[in-house]
Amino acid sequence: MLRILWLVPALPLLGVIINGILALFFERPLLLRKYYEDLEKGVHEEDSHGHGAEDHPLFHHWYRQLVSITGPSVVGAAFFVALVCVLILVKRPPHERVFQLDLFTWIQSGEFRTAFSLYLDPLSSVMILVVTGVGFLIHVYSVGYMAHEKGYARYFVYLNLFTFAMLVLVLASNYLLLFVGWEAVGLCSYLLIGYWYEKKSASDAGKKAFIVNRVGDFGFALGMFLLFWTVGSLNFSEVFPKALEMWEAGTLTPAVATAITLLLFVGATGKSAQIPLYVWLPDAMEGPTPVSALIHAATMVTAGVYMVARSNVLYLMSPTTLTVVAVIGGATALFAATIGVAQNDMKRVLAYSTVSQLGYMFLACGVGAFTAGIFHLMTHAFFKALLFLGSGSVMHALAGELDIRKMGGLKKYMPVTFWTFFLATLAISGIPGFSGFFSKDEILWRAFSSPFGGKVFWLLGTVAAFVTAFYMFRMVFLAFFGETRLSPELKEHVHESPKVMTVPLMILAVLSVVGGFVGIPPILGGSNRFEHFLEPVFEKGAELVPAAPHHFSHSLELGLMVLAVLVAAAGIYLAYHFYMKKPELPGKVAEKYPVLYDVVANKYYVDEIYHAIVVYPVYRFSVFLWEVFDVLVVDGIVNGVGRVLLGTGQAVRRLQTGVVHTYAVSLLIGAVILVGYLIFG
């Protein structure tokens, strides 16, 4: 029965094909016709959201209705199939919860054999449910959000393709297939960031994301090669037991394990936007908001965390790498959170928040608490997708306005959006009872107590939690509370979003609230079912974990939990004090510390620094290659050969006088020389 697993990635692929046909053969001709009509009438598109032109037949063509059905429904069906598969898997005893479906041999070369096969275990179960479940809701939301867009079918082709690629990534049974999915999601990310390709900033952001990811993928590929070189396999079912055997036999040295895992982690920093490769994610907000929710918050960017968790056996062999992962994760969590404090664009705040939350997940992986990382990955997918979709709803109502300084008082205009957004904010801030609380607290506790952890990591996480609560509530207070600062025209325009958008919001809100209940820690009377479910995946690696140096008391765990909640509450209170009670305070603080404010508001000038030390030298070097090497050397050789031949011709053509006598004389001289040679030579 589990053989139906192949349908999970196949259904979104079917959506790609159907929507692709509609996009190519129906949407494209219509768009071209509209383009030429507009050209004749001299109409210019005033903005990319294209309001006003909606009476055009393009927007009433039957293909749109069809896309609205196929786009979301294939993902919905995939979710259903995934759910059935996972339920079947769960019925098995915990240690038999692994299923590999070999579809066909993909590459066979000498000893190297890679099959296109799917691998279902508790870890990939969680991932496919999140990808298809949250993905389905976002597809539905997109039907409403993208209704006014010209490239409607194109959008769903990309979105379906992304879902397919992501499912290949998480269901892959070997590193190579995982890498295929890894690259394919990167491609879809590029296509969707640059969805409004007529806008320069959007196409630039797409390119930036793609190029920054190449840096990471380079590391990933090297790590993969090194792994194959040492262990001789890339299949998950072979590589981990074999690596453990070699580890015990001493043929796999800690140095090699460190090199492999660090290289793989370089790939993860690119895909999951960690220091130093996080810079593409904030720019990726140029894409449509549902894309930000699905790809750049809930699923694709978590691929790095998934990969590290999947390779837990290898990572646990190298305490050095674990420390690096934890330090980078913790530093990113705090660093990105502080940037979020001074951003005024709603989606950018959420983007830095995503970077920061991904940092948490890596912090968890770095201290060896892979379950906690995956737990946070899941709850984060719920509440961050909800936050993004909520901001999309606001954007939809305000005709594209995203500056929180120009909002205010939206609570009474958009009650559903407000309440769902508010619940998600409570979840991300770690208020007890909400999903984010359980996962975040799990991470903080593990950072404190794990043999790989330490008080420093706990402190980093806790301070980041404080900043997170502050900037999230800053945004909520500025956007939804207080007096409205909307311009009069916008006040007329503002409206609650249609049902097709608010229903996904409500479902995600429910998930954000209850999503954490699957992992209530024992200390709060739960049994942490989530951890037990994932246990078989991390069991092999667990043998490598050294015994905890000392035991921590329950009261300490409870105390730290209360402290974390108090810290979050302090962040909320500070935001309330700054933005509700004394709205003039933030300006005063900014005036008092102008340098600090400037540095934070400009995102620590990281983009500028990268531009100066990476982009600009590469650019100058390219100019050098063009102006010096290409123009002088390459062109010089080509033109030089031509010029030499031309000159020789010019010189030699003088011999052709046309006077018969000259020819006769040269004949004579030649004959004399020849005869002389024959006689005397």
Binding site: Q656, T657, G658, V659, V660, H661, A664, L668
Partner: protein, 100 residues
């Protein structure tokens, strides 16, 4: 009997006269005549060598050359006449259109 070498020397002198004529004269007709002299010098050498070696091939070659010379003279003179009709001159130094 005249020794064989005399014939060859005469042949050489005649050939040299022909060469000088071709190289130094401008009149196309005289050039053609000089070419005839060169051909006849060769004929002489052929006949002399043939009789010296007792081989009739020398005489055969001489007849061959005469035939070619007749054809050459016919074509050459026709060309010269055509040139004269066209240009009203037979001075080859003025016929130098075929150059760079």
């Amino acid at each position: 009997m005249v020794p064989e070498s005399y014939y060859l020397v005469l042949s050489g002198i005649m050939f040299a006269v022909g060469v000088v004529g071709v190289v130094s004269r401008r009149n196309a007709l005289i050039i053609l005549m000089s070419i005839e002299i060169m051909l006849n010098a060769v004929n002489l050498a052929f006949v002399a060598a043939g009789s010296y070696l007792g081989d009739p091939a020398g005489n055969v070659f001489a007849f061959m050359v005469m035939t070619v010379a007749a054809a050459e003279a016919a074509v050459g003179l026709a060309i010269v006449i055509a040139i004269f009709r066209h240009r009203e001159t037979v001075d080859v130094s003025e016929l130098k259109e075929l150059k760079f």
